[in-house]
Symmetry: C2
DNA sequence: TTGTAAGCGTTATCAG
DNA sequence: CTGATAACGCTTACAA
């Protein structure tokens, strides 16, 4: 095991000073061509790589940004990561990812361990638990220490920073309108509990579309799934609720779910019942993932353009880091959704 | 924006030396109780956090490990990450994730940017492109620089390091045996091209099971999907191949796919044809993911115990980092698979 | 009990 | 053209 060579070692071997080596390797004209080339050759031979920790310490900048994701296995987040990476790599930044698992504590921990020098800025989507608690001190502290944050998707109004969000209201509205236009009269909406901003906004869009079409909003058609449910409990709960609903309204003919799991579970309920999709029930999911695509029949989905979001978020962050945008000026960029029509709607 | 306080600043404010501050904050008995407490209080007030970069540089150790994943949106990898995180956090290590996107170049780049001081060791699953090229210099160089690597799932024999693998052969064998036992006579096997070790091993298990049951291996039943296909092309290809196959063998009654996408696509083919699952065709997927679970009917799957793999991998790495295991002693841990029976088999 | 100084690997500044 | 020195923030012998 040969540890990485350092400037010092090279200098000693070659009988020159450390600064000469440093300059030579950065191809500084100050150093005589001959010496420079000799040193460069030697360094290449020994596979010299500058120690990035030392560089970071010296430069007070790491050229790295961190993404903190609530969950890692989420197609939408993945797309966002790809967008961030493409923009960041283009601008010579390194990207590392940490996962909060939707836990407040892990979110705080992750930020604390990274904030002290390891990275220059954060791009994050807020953990559910954090939203529930409403405790945002870690965000504000980070920002006030000069480490900028860009929030995407799940953001909190209480924190003043750059944001990239989806037009959730509009997306849900369009989905609802699509169902209405194809003749649906009684549309079920499956969403999360109220404290999740995204679920709330989507519910708002659903309601707006109904109101604009002069359809009365019926709270019985809105199913709210508890956050702490396991996936088995979610299935059980959704099946139960739909069962009850169908008793009251046998003529349910449309359904929108705020994520792919809720939606596909509901779709499976109707498949089990033998209902025709989209003949008897039309279904739309919010999702960038594979579930709707590989489902049979495949599900129409509201796509969230994760990649674009990521690019926008990275742009905001890097512009701030590089002083292109003034420090105290925050923007919120809204990314439009797209209705990807598949087989589950007419 | 108030930057983080440094020892120096605290020292100046309090009119003591930097080392006094340092010692006090580490609660060193050397320093008088009074001074110590005063300094500690002051530090707390100013929210002092040691600069981790400086610590890393000094200690030549970061207490961080990096995971390099071929893809991020993969339920199996996610489970592995969780396993790694739980073991690493328990032992006070931080985990960061980087993604190679199955690209050789990105894999090399990621390792190079991280290896110079940012992390103490790697846990990784080899990118497909790397396996195809057979170029493993970056692994060997990293190891010879004293940064240990643990490979999981996709490993290469040519590199001498700790490994955690799945018993792919056994998993595929059991899946095949399950189908045989429930009466299947003609089992299709959908796999990757030969250079992907995992696909190959699974194919081997399939063949072994057939041979042991004295069934002749029919290469026509083995579909190999090209790696560079997009997901639409995969669907088209699998549909085509199955169509051809059904012409020759209308009595195909079983199918195993080496990943969830291939399998679910094949399942959709049979659904489209109107075949009963599992009445006419029984299906088994290799997967830890959601697709088989949420499919209708849900698919029986070979589970890979990602979490355990992650824990085992982290244990191997950390034991090496902490000198618990000798440096030049490499182990390969084999994790058993589990057949999760669902609705797609009898 | 407290402080000084060296060192981790690098670069920028200034002097030779 | 080359080299010594200081600095980034921290720890730790060793002095005082």
């Amino acid at each position: 095991m040969k540890k990485n060579v350092t400037l010092k070692q090279i200098a000693k071997e070659l009988g020159v000073s450390v600064s000469t080596v440093s300059k030579s390797l950065r191809d500084n004209e100050e150093i005589g061509l001959e010496t420079r080339q000799k040193i460069q050759a030697f360094a290449k031979m020994y596979n010299y790589k500058p120690n990035s920790i030392a560089l970071n310490l010296r430069n007070k900048s790491t050229n790295s940004i961190a993404i903190i994701l609530p969950q890692i296995v989420n197609h939408f987040f993945t797309n966002v990561v790809q967008g961030i990476e493409s923009e960041a790599n283009r601008r010579n930044y390194n990207v590392i990812i940490a996962v909060s698992n939707d836990s407040f504590e892990k979110e705080v921990l992750n930020m604390e361990t990274l904030v002290n020098g390891s990275i220059d800025g954060f791009i994050l989507s807020v953990a559910k638990e954090t939203m529930k608690r409403g405790d945002y001190h870690h965000f504000n502290e980070t920002i006030s220490q000069g480490v900028p944050i860009v929030m995407f998707d799940r953001e909190v109004q209480e924190v003043n920073c750059d944001k990239v969000v989806i037009d959730d209201v509009q997306g849900a509205k369009e989905a609802t309108q699509k169902l209405l236009k194809t003749g649906c009269k009684r549309i079920v909406f499956i969403t999360t509990e109220d404290f999740v901003s995204v679920g709330n906004l989507r519910l708002k869009g659903y309601k707006e579309a109904l109101i604009e079409s002069q359809i009365e909003i019926d709270d019985a058609l809105i199913i709210k799934v508890k956050d702490q449910f396991s996936s088995d409990e979610i299935e059980k709960f959704i099946f139960q609720e739909l069962e009850k609903l169908i008793q009251i309204y046998p003529d349910v003919d449309g359904l929108i779910g705020v994520n792919e799991f809720y939606t596909i579970t509901a779709a499976n309920y109707f498949k089990k019942k033998g209902s025709k999709i989209p003949g008897e029930v039309s279904i739309i999911a919010f999702s960038d993932g594979d579930l709707p695509k590989y489902s049979y029949p495949s599900l129409t989905a509201v796509r969230q353009h994760g990649r674009e979001m990521g690019e926008a978020a990275a742009k905001l962050l890097l512009d701030k880091l590089e002083g292109i945008t003034p420090e105290e000026e925050y923007q919120t960029i809204v990314i439009e959704t797209e209705l990807k029509e598949r087989e589950s709607t007419k």
